[in-house]
Amino acid sequence: MNDKFLKLKNAWDIFDRYCDEPMKERVELYDIYYEISTKIYDYRISRGWSQKKLAEVLGITQAMVSKLESGEYNYTIEQLWKISKKLGWTLNVSFDGACEDSYSVGYNAESQIESNISPTEIA
């Protein structure tokens, strides 16, 4: 019965075949870029803003907004901090390893304080 139908393969399996091991590792980094750019894009679209409008809010050029949304941009911590501050977001960078090594650096736009806190302290 099923022989009559086309079997569609998952696209991600093809992607895997084109990747070597070093690239598969770098994919983790790309995912962080993509996640950040999606967050910025979603924020703009949910408000019905143009890139120009977001550029005005952030105090940057429209071309820069386009780069930020591209998923190809290597953001600096300073840029992320500035974006968070302007958009009222909370920025947190976390290094998760063995419990004693865990360390988190954060910026909370609401309380306007920067903090160096470990997850164990918060818990």
Partner: protein, 146 residues
């Protein structure tokens, strides 16, 4: 006291929303074998699949995903590389979710006439494969027929 915020870490894909026609991989092999572009293409492809999967139709507002005017329901994904690679895809409802199916890939030639010609052939191939899919398909890894 500062809040414990969202931890940014690679997210897991909903990896069951993008599929390919059985002959799609052959198209890619023809374009990429011996071209030295495999790695760069894989990076580009993954980026675009990520955004399509996250945002589906909203991706059509981007410059790299173009609705083909000639044919209803077909979209062209553009890759800016040494070769002008194009992938034609379609959106389809399947198993109570919307999926994207990559139908065919081709290289758009540089000269104006050849460019039109390569696009026409690509669209022709995509329409043929779309019709095959509309006759019935099953998704790899899932039970039941569509």
């Amino acid at each position: 006291m500062a809040k414990l915020c969202k931890v940014y870490y690679p997210i897991e894909f909903n990896s069951n929303r993008i599929y390919v026609h059985p002959k799609f991989e052959d198209d890619m092999k023809k374009i990429l074998e011996k071209s030295g572009l495999k790695k760069g293409f894989a990076e580009n492809l993954r980026q675009k699949l990520y955004f399509i999967e996250k945002d589906m139709h909203c991706s059509t507002k981007t410059r790299w995903l173009e609705k083909l005017r000639e044919e209803e329901g077909l979209y062209s994904i553009k890759f800016k590389m040494i070769k002008n690679i194009r992938i034609i895809c379609m959106f389809k409802d399947a198993s109570r979710r919307e999926i994207v199916i990559l139908l065919c890939g081709f290289e758009e030639k540089n000269s104006k006439n050849k460019s039109r010609d390569s696009y026409d052939k690509g669209i022709e191939k995509a329409i043929k494969r779309k019709k095959e899919i509309e006759r019935g398909f099953i998704l790899e890894g899932e039970d039941g027929d569509e």
